[in-house]
């Protein structure tokens, strides 16, 4: 290409981060994966179309739900309380809220993050100052104008410990004083450490933007559903139903979605209920099915099956700061019992990718391949002897009873541990009960949802003192490597630091990670234009019913 990539980008978008032209050159030469380039470039504020131009690809453009009429979409999903988006701890809660309130950015089913309420963003070279330009002429459903004050209010709320939001750890480099309102449409964040993934983090499910008087007016979205989104909450009853009705075209700033109404129906805990509802025409889509139900669904021609490869997983994590797992050799022994490929077969019917005990997935751009983890019983026995358990050891792991693949996988793990002398007893309990003890139990099997970048979960779960650090892991070397990774936007270089993080986690045997799972959902044949999001987020703008 003869054009100066920098000039073309400038023509296509706002002023760009200085590192982008070099990255673009790398992408063109094939040294950086194009997808990874797209991700990084859009993270750094380049518009999607500009990024595509630079990478030499044609922009995709929004997908129209071809020939599909609007209508009412009924979704079978648990309808839980929906009080405060910043305190959401289950994805289902955010799915109902997602049509009422919106986010600054949006990560699509292709794992690329694009502008949403924020129309553009840019970062300083040291990645410690982020500036967001907001769209204009957006109105809240109560008539107020949407502007930077609302956004600043949300950021300050998230980092306030009194709110009790998990966003506080997600934006750990931000304090209330670091949120600056530059003008009506511009918010600037001053972080105390470099952060690469702020735009990606802004689409996490608890990061929806609420009105600046949210707490003042009761702090309950289900009772006072003020939002910028295309739907309004018509009725809401926990455990039963939520009805969302499309607002008039003039009231919403964006393209009018095809669906006139979206109804969420709660069918309880039985996994068959959702499928039965769709098969008999009582619902058009469900939230998720487990791989156990794949055969059943595939045998029914009247149903559509949706699949997505994800970085969703669960980790058998050990509390490394107290006995018995404060002994690294014991942890390594447990890790060495596992044959990960076999575990994927047994636990999830092979529908996914085998885990490698370090929580970075092959679909993450900065994933670094390490030598394969192998099952080695001789090593296990030696480690056990060194750890002071020459005659074997009795351990216990806590696991929730649903989704079914989790206890199934833990049972397979236990069976793999037995021949080496580790008697792993499994303690299964209801999900809500596990939710009370997930970060206190010495050995627990905890589910983790998909995140687009590898560093994100490392920041949330393995950094010293992080809110969701359920294993009590605190390793300075790991933190330093992670800080460097967070500050490095070049994918190749970041991969080196992430490789270091991976190696440290594996060596310290903090977790045994069985697999990365693909997820599935079921819909009726009438459903058009639906793509399953790796995080089960319901992005229904292009969906219609035929």
């Amino acid at each position: 290409m003869k054009r100066n990539p920098g000039k073309a980008a400038m023509a296509a978008g706002a002023g760009i981060h200085p590192a982008i032209p070099d990255l673009a050159a790398l992408a063109r030469r094939g040294e950086t994966d194009r997808r990874a380039f797209l991700r990084t470039a859009t993270l750094l504020g380049l518009s999607a179309s500009a990024a595509y131009t630079l990478a030499g690809l044609a922009p995709t453009g929004s997908r129209a739900a071809s020939g599909a009429a609007g209508g009412t979409l009924r979704i079978s999903m648990k309808v839980q309380e929906m009080t405060d988006p910043a305190r959401f701890d289950w994805t289902e809660k955010s799915n109902v809220a997602r049509h009422i309130v919106e986010f600054l950015t949006i990560t699509g089913t292709d794992n690329v993050t694009r502008p949403y309420l924020a129309k553009a963003w840019s970062a300083s070279e040291d990645l410690r100052t982020w500036t967001f330009k907001l769209r204009r002429r957006i109105r809240w459903s109560n008539g107020d104008s949407f502007d930077a004050e609302d956004v600043a209010y949300n950021f300050r709320r998230w980092v306030d410990p009194k709110t009790g939001s998990s966003n506080k750890s997600l934006f750990s480099g931000l304090s209330a004083g670091g949120v600056e309102v530059v003008d009506r449409d511009t918010v600037r964040l001053h972080l105390n450490k470099p952060e690469l993934a702020i735009p990606e983090n802004l689409y996490n499910y608890p990061a929806a933007i609420v009105h600046r008087r949210f707490a003042e007016e009761g702090g309950d979205l289900s009772k006072n559903p003020v939002g910028t989104g295309p739907y309004r909450l018509d009725s809401f009853s926990i455990g039963q139903k939520a009805v969302l009705v499309r607002r008039e075209k003039s009231a919403y700033w964006g393209p009018k979605p095809a669906l006139e109404r979206i109804i969420y129906i709660d069918h309880g805990d039985d996994p068959m209920a959702g499928i039965a509802a769709i098969a008999s025409g009582q619902a058009d889509l469900n939230y998720e099915i487990s791989p156990d139900q794949l055969e059943l669904v595939q045998s029914m021609p009247q149903l559509q099956l949706f699949e997505a490869a994800t970085a969703q997983t669960a980790v058998a994590r050990m509390r490394v700061d107290r006995p018995p797992f404060d002994n690294a050799k014991l942890r390594q022994a447990v890790q060495a019992c596992i044959d990960h490929d076999r575990l994927l077969e047994l636990g999830y019917r092979g529908k996914g990718v085998a885990g490698e005990d370090h929580h970075v997935a092959p679909i993450h751009p900065e994933y670094a391949a390490l030598p394969k983890q192998r099952q080695d019983y001789a090593l296990v026995r030696k480690l056990l002897a060194d750890a002071g358990h020459p005659n074997g050891v009795k351990l216990s792991i806590d696991c929730r009873s649903a989704p079914s693949w989790e206890p199934t996988t833990v049972q397979a793990m236990s069976a793999m541990c037995r021949p080496a002398g580790i008697d792993l007893k499994i303690n299964t309990m209801p999900s809500e009960q596990y939710g009370d003890i997930w970060n206190k139990t010495p050995f627990g099997f905890t589910g983790w949802t998909h995140r687009p970048l590898g560093v994100m979960v490392l920041n949330l779960a393995y950094r010293s003192g992080a809110a969701w650090n359920e294993s009590g892991y605190a390793n300075r070397d790991f933190d330093l490597a992670l800080n460097r990774a967070n500050a490095t936007l070049d994918i190749q270089e970041r991969r080196r630091y992430v490789a270091a993080c991976e190696r440290i986690l594996q060596r310290d045997a903090v977790i045994v990670q069985p697999l990365w799972r693909s997820i599935f959902a079921v819909g009726s044949k009438r459903l058009r234009g639906y793509r399953l999001h790796p995080t089960n987020y319901h992005q229904l703008g292009g969906v219609g019913l035929g």
């Binding site: 405060d84 009790g164 069918h267 039985d270 209920a273 039965a276 008999s280 009582q282």
Partner: protein, 310 residues
Amino acid sequence: MCLFLLKRLGMLALTMLVVSVVVFLLLELTPGTVATKVLGQYATVEQQRIWLETHGYFDPAAERYLRWLAKLLTGDLGESLRYKTPVGDVLWPRLLNTVILGAAVLAIMVPLSLALGVVAGMREGRPSDRVISIVSVVTTSVPEFASAAFLSALFVFALGWLPGTSAMSGGFNWRELVLPVAVLVLYDFGYVVRMTRASMADVMTQPYIRTALLKGLPFRVVVLRHALRNALIAPFTVILLQVNWLLSGVIVVESFFAYKGFGALLLEASLFGDIFLIEACAMVAVVVAVGTQTLADIAYAYLSPRIRFA
């Protein structure tokens, strides 16, 4: 009679008191989890402590129990942690749903099982009796979750005749009631048939029946006027006891078909740890259990002169 009634009501009150103590001890002895449920998992320890203190959770257990009991007696059941509304708002509608389900089940099961039981009892030992007995035993042996899955596979997936769930999200719908009622009737009718059959067979061998026949009365009149009245006493009380089962024993069916009833409510509340709702449900279940027992005793005493005048 009055004394009998008073004694039974006294037993009811005492049972409720004992159950209330047990339930309270089981659920409210460790106050920590209540705060987590209300404030969310990311609340700080300090915030939890303040909330617990404001709501009186650090008072001695006995005091908290008496306070709770006093509120219960005045009709204040507390607020549901999951639904964030007063317990009554959730409990009574769901209870009504189960009552509707139970009423539908009884409306079909009672005539069906009584008729079959009477026929089987009258023709004791004959082929029709054998067939009825075998069918009754087989259907009662198949657990509800199995018959629910089987009927669902047949009528929802294979034939597509009936709706797969009974959430009644579009308002009350008779078609959504068919499968849950069918499963419950199938499971329960065999038991009542066998009870009725035994009772009927026993009555048919009584001397007074023989006398009536020898007197020359038509067989039909003998059965309707003499045999049935005596034969139906035992099944009647058994049916009353089924009411208790229809309240909380239907959890499996309600859960499978997503029917928003009392059993499913108790299940969800237990899984979630919704303490006040569980306590209220437990009290309701006790009232129904002891109440139906009492009613059954009274009915039996009333219907059977031998007991009444004993």
